[in-house]
Amino acid sequence: MNKNKLYSFILFACFIGYGWLLFSFQHEHQIQNQEFTVCLFKKVTTFPCPSCGTTRSVLQLSHGNLLSAILLNPFGILVALIMLVAPFWISYDLVQKKETFYTIYLKTESILRKRKVAFVLIVLVIANWIWNIKKNL
């Protein structure tokens, strides 16, 4: 994946992400009361996936409720961080004609690929998934 593809992809993804957030804001009441499910996985299997509740978590963060956000789904914090930081960082790179974001992306990928790191993260994901199911998200 070369730099330009990555940058365009992430900017595009953030754009969609913000669009989705806006949409969720307007329907927040229905989402909180579980009348609204967009996840096909949940409709078919009736139980949540590991990232279930991420949107709700980010919405809570936008209201300033850090604790609710973590309790709903810790992934929300990751997503919020990325969505906040990435557009600025990439713009900085584009303006300054540097590659700092790309370099760090590649470095992170190689760290994540290491057996021990990957194993720990997989365990965390499964733990989060089980927690989601227990919370009946």
Binding site: M1, I16, W20, F41, C49, S51, L78, V79, L112
Partner: protein, 113 residues
């Protein structure tokens, strides 16, 4: 490299690459020394069909992207439940091409010299 060995490799591994790349690969192999043969045999390519099956059954969890080594994208897919399912569906169509590209990169990395 002996053309017999090259043909053997091409027959066994054609499915791992895009059609239009096969010629270039063949040329590269023919020019290579014979002592690269053991190394050639040890390179593990990713199977596009496996990637497609992973994409269909576990696309939401990003397993298909993790399989082909696209860790960053895999994490993104996992965190967003397959991009609210949209990315999942798009990847059903893109994943085989992406696998073949990754295989090409792997081949180039191994035999750049």
């Amino acid at each position: 490299m002996e053309s017999q060995k090259v043909d053997m490799f091409m027959m066994a591994n054609a499915k791992f690459f895009e059609g239009h790349q096969l010629n270039a690969i063949r040329e590269r192999l023919v020019q290579m020394d014979d002592d690269k043969w053991p190394m050639l045999q040890t390179v593990q390519f990713k199977d596009p069909t496996t990637a497609l099956i992973l994409s269909i059954f576990a696309g939401n969890l990003g397993v298909d992207r993790f399989y082909i080594g696209d860790t960053g994208m895999g994490v993104g897919k996992l965190l967003t439940c397959g991009g609210i399912y949209v990315w999942t569906i798009v990847d059903w169509f893109l994943i085989q091409g992406a696998t073949k590209e990754k295989n090409m990169e792997m081949f180039n990395r191994a035999f750049m010299f």
